[in-house]
């Protein structure tokens, strides 16, 4: 129907272009003929033209020929024998290959059951598994194989270096450097520049002043818990330069810490790194308190409440501080300030105070 209409249309158009006016009347007659025919047919069949609602009737599509889809084999892990040598399958570090890994493994996060039906994604094309490093190239079998290959390069461990302490004694300085090997747009890696040395503070010859000065100069490169000092540098372009620089730093700081500058004498009580009882107010308070107590004792004449260890002699600061009770008190106070408050230090302080003031408290 459609094609016949289009043919008629083209004929009509041709007619208009080529012929003169009097054909238009013939065209009109053609159209009117058509209408008459239709009228006749409709009158004959006594039916309306059927109106076709789109979507109501199923339309059969002519199937387009399927494109040849590449048939690809099943993944490799299906045909792997269980006694195969894994070191051959995964000899070097490589990205996670889901088709070559014979065990099921899942990774990922699903927020709710609409994502992947609530199931954590499997290994097929799992980007999360591919992103992180896998150590399938360093299984025990691999390590065994590698050790066997490089064993003949090994030499005997030197004699006289059996324990860690001996190693520390003979080789006090430890230097740490890293090398990086990989293929990329650049063969070099910035991290390879870094060089550091590590040693124990006790291995250096320092007196009290030098030690204090060294620790202040070095700052948080010194770890008081382990006693290690670490100097690290990456400011030079080459690793060897960084190593030399770090050794230079050590020399410089060491000799600096032995020097006494004139301004160091201006060190005040608030600058002291440790609490020393003799120099602080606590000693003066203690001495004055004890002398006070002694005076009261002398005056009162009460035998019971006396502090027996205080002698009859004149209370003098140096004499008093030599007394064992006062020494004990001094140590307790110093511990409190230097080591911080803890159960042990508080207890020692309590004992010391009890002894000093001859208090007998019921526990």
């Amino acid at each position: 129907m459609a094609s016949s209409l289009s043919v008629k249309k083209t004929r009509l158009i041709l007619g208009v272009m080529n012929r003169s006016l009097h054909l238009s009347s013939s065209l009109k007659s053609q159209e009117s003929e058509k209408l008459e025919n239709k009228k006749e047919s409709s009158l004959d069949s006594e039916e309306f033209r059927v109106y076709e609602i789109k979507g109501l009737k199923k339309v059969s599509f002519v199937r387009r020929p399927e494109r040849w889809s590449k048939r690809f084999p099943p993944p490799r892990y299906r045909t792997m024998p269980t006694d195969q040598d894994w070191t051959d399958v995964w000899p070097t570090a490589s990205t996670f290959k889901w088709s070559a890994v014979p065990f099921p493994v899942r990774q990922g996060y699903v927020e709710n059951s609409s994502e992947n039906e609530g199931v954590i994604p499997s290994k097929y094309a799992n980007l999360e598994l591919m992103k992180g490093p896998n150590f399938l190239h360093l299984t025990p079998a691999h390590v065994k194989k590698h050790c066997k290959a490089i064993k003949h390069f090994c030499t005997q461990w030197p004699e006289g270096l059996d324990t860690d302490e001996q190693c520390q004694k003979h080789f006090p300085l430890e230097s740490v450097t890293s090398d990086y090997v990989f293929a990329g747009p650049s063969l070099t890696d910035d991290r390879a520049r870094v060089a550091s040395i590590k040693f124990k503070l006790t291995d250096l010859e320092l007196d009290n002043h030098a030690r204090d000065k060294f620790i202040r100069l070095v700052g948080d490169r010194y770890d008081p818990d382990t006693g290690d000092v670490v100097f690290e540098s990456n400011r030079c372009p080459l690793k060897s330069q960084n190593l030399e620089y770090v050794k230079f730093i050590l020399t410089a700081v060491y000799f600096e810490s032995w020097k006494r500058e004139s301004w160091e004498q201006q060190k005040e009580l608030s600058d002291m790194e440790q609490y020393v009882w003799d120099q602080n107010k606590s000693s003066k308070t203690c001495v004055s308190l004890l002398s006070d107590i002694k005076a009261r004792d002398m005056a009162s004449g009460d035998e019971q409440g006396k502090l027996s260890y205080l002698s009859e002699k004149e209370v003098d600061a140096s004499v008093v501080s030599d007394l064992p009770e006062v020494q004990q008190y001094k140590e307790a106070v110093e511990n409190l300030f230097n080591d911080g408050e803890s159960i042990e230090t508080l207890n020692t302080y309590r004992m010391a105070v009890e002894k000093l003031l001859n208090l007998k408290l019921d526990v």
């Binding site: 020929p65 399927e66 040849w68 590449k70 048939r71 690809f72 084999p73 099943p74 993944p75 490799r76 045909t79 070191t87 051959d88 399958v89 000899p91 070097t92 290959k97 889901w98 088709s99 070559a100 194989k145 590698h146 290959a149 490089i150 390069f153 747009p185 650049s186 063969l187 070099t188």
Partner: protein, 525 residues
């Protein structure tokens, strides 16, 4: 006391390169596997062309690639095209020589000569060496992948290789202009001419050297021997030539090495059909043994080629081959000369052509698997040909279990057999009742379009339907049959459908009947 990379090399030696898995450098995904030889070649060629395109782009648009990560840039990555010396002088010439820019070196040389400046003897000799090695043309570098996938050059073994040395070329020009013609200059010329099969030049140079009583070194003698067979009429001429040269060597107290004898034998290989060749080669071989030189793979390649030429259909005896294999048993070889890599492929070809004895083939295969000998089967074509012949020889004669062991080791990633080989395997399966292997064959065949061939499909289905088996195997066979039917029904109307007809369906029906599966059988009907 050890080299800086010794540990890395030791670790690298733990990695095997002959495992039956896809080429390690490719992405390991089922969609991207390349199995058949053609696909493998296409895949590797694609890699290769990608790299070349990248280099080409770098050369075309250098301005867009300005990011330099390394500071300072390593020498190997610096652009070659910039010379330090642009003005004509001796240093400029030396620079172009070290960078192997042959054409530009020639131009520079000519400029310097026309300017009338003096050049040292040393530079001139270096230039001569460059020209002689590359035959006055810029070298064409073949990459690793290229040498793997492209066929090697067999020109040297054709009976009368054409002379590629141009008369009065730049090398001769330089040689004539040398202030002092030293022995080393003569030697260079001889070697260059011999590499380009220019026999007259070689002889004239050699005679000049002899007249001036110059010492000739071993490599030059080897080069002279290489051209012995050109322009000769009979083996006796060749024999005379070779013997003269060897006597000259002995007279001048120059010790021959393995390459000397190989060069001599290559001549005979070119003319292996001529009478007297075989006798003479054996004589050379005994001479070699007498000199105390250990024969390597290359020597045996030449000898075997002379005795067992592929196209020679006359009857042969395998004794020589067996002796050779006995001699080589338990030895590990390295790639020392260019002919080493031909050994395994050629010998397997000989075995397949002349005496298809599976024991010999398996012995050769054992030798291949010893130590690092696998590296000597390098080229893709060599690999394909070797395994093809191996299977052709072994399948008819050995039990199916032996065949399938080899099959598992190699198929589908290292070697993929063609349809003829598969048909042979199917025959063997039928003969030895190894139907449990059919499923593995089917999995591997899924990758190919071999089922489109009617002969093959009917043969395959015949194997399926042959007889009734035990339950497990029969089930597998039925699954295969159903899968084939599925494939057919899905693509029935397409032009690349399986060519299923009465015979095939009959076989499939039989398979199902063997499994007592009447329903499926009837539905097929």
């Amino acid at each position: 006391n050890r080299s800086p990379t010794a540990i890395l090399e030791a670790l690298a030696s733990t990695v095997r390169n002959d495992v039956n898995q896809p080429i390690y450098s490719t992405i390991d995904d089922p969609f991207l596997y390349s199995t058949t030889d053609r696909v493998k070649k296409a895949h590797l060629a694609a890699y290769e062309s990608g790299r070349k395109t990248a280099e080409h782009m770098l050369a075309l648009y250098p301005d867009y690639f300005t990011q330099i990560w390394d500071d300072p840039l390593p020498d190997a990555w610096k652009k070659d095209s910039e010379y330090i010396y642009a003005e004509p002088c001796e240093d400029a010439l030396n620079e172009r020589i070290t960078k192997r820019k042959v054409v530009e070196a020639i131009d520079m040389y000519r400029t310097i000569i026309s300017n009338g400046e003096p050049l040292s003897q040393e530079s001139q000799e270096k230039l001569l060496e460059l020209l002689v090695v590359f035959n006055c043309k810029d070298p064409v570098e073949e990459t690793d992948i290229g040498s793997y996938i492209n066929a090697p050059d067999y020109r040297a073994f054709s009976p009368f290789p054409p002379c590629t040395w141009q008369k009065a070329n730049a090398a001769e020009e330089v040689f004539d202009a040398l202030p002092e013609k030293t022995a080393s200059a003569y030697c260079q010329m001889i070697r260059g001419m011999s590499a380009n099969y220019h026999k007259e030049g070689v002889l004239s140079m050699y005679n000049a050297m002899k007249a001036n009583k110059m010492p000739v070194d071993v490599e030059t003698y080897n080069a002279i021997l290489k051209v012995a067979s050109l322009d000769t009429e009979t083996i006796d001429d060749v024999k005379l030539f070779v013997e003269t040269i060897l006597k000259d060597m002995a007279a001048n107290n120059v010790k021959p090495n393995e390459k000397t004898f190989i060069s001599a034998m290559v001549n005979l290989r070119r003319l292996s059909r001529w009478s007297g060749a075989k006798k003479f080669v054996l004589a050379l071989f005994s001479e070699m043994k007498a000199c105390g030189i250990e024969p390597g793979l290359s020597t045996y390649v030449q000898i075997l080629h002379i005795f067992y030429y592929f196209k020679d259909r006359s009857s042969k005896t395998p004794e020589l081959l067996e002796q050779v294999l006995d001699d080589l048993k338990g030895k590990e070889f390295e790639c020392k000369t260019e002919n080493d890599v031909q050994f395994f492929r050629s010998v397997m070809g000989m075995i397949a052509a002349h005496f298809p004895d599976s024991k010999l083939a398996l012995r050769l295969h054992e030798l291949l698997q010893y130590g690092k000998n696998r590296d000597l089967l390098s080229n893709r074509q060599a690999q394909y040909g070797y395994y093809s012949d191996l299977f052709t020889v072994i399948i008819p004669l050995e039990h199916i279990d032996v065949v399938m062991d080899l099959y598992k080791e190699v198929v589908p990633y290292i070697f993929f057999p063609n349809s003829e080989t598969f048909k042979l395997i199917l025959e063997s399966i039928e003969m030895h009742e190894g139907h449990q292997y059919v499923s593995q064959l089917y999995t591997d065949l899924q990758w190919t379009s071999m089922f489109k061939d009617f002969d093959f499909l009917s043969r395959f289905t015949q194997t399926l339907a042959e007889r009734k088996h035990e339950a497990k195997t029969q089930n597998e066979l039925c699954m295969i049959a159903s899968s084939l039917m599925d494939q057919w029904t899905r693509k029935q109307h397409l032009h690349d459908a399986l060519p299923v007809n009465g015979v095939v369906i009959g076989n499939l029906i039989k398979t199902h009947l063997n499994n007592d599966d009447l329903k499926t059988a009837w539905s097929l009907f």
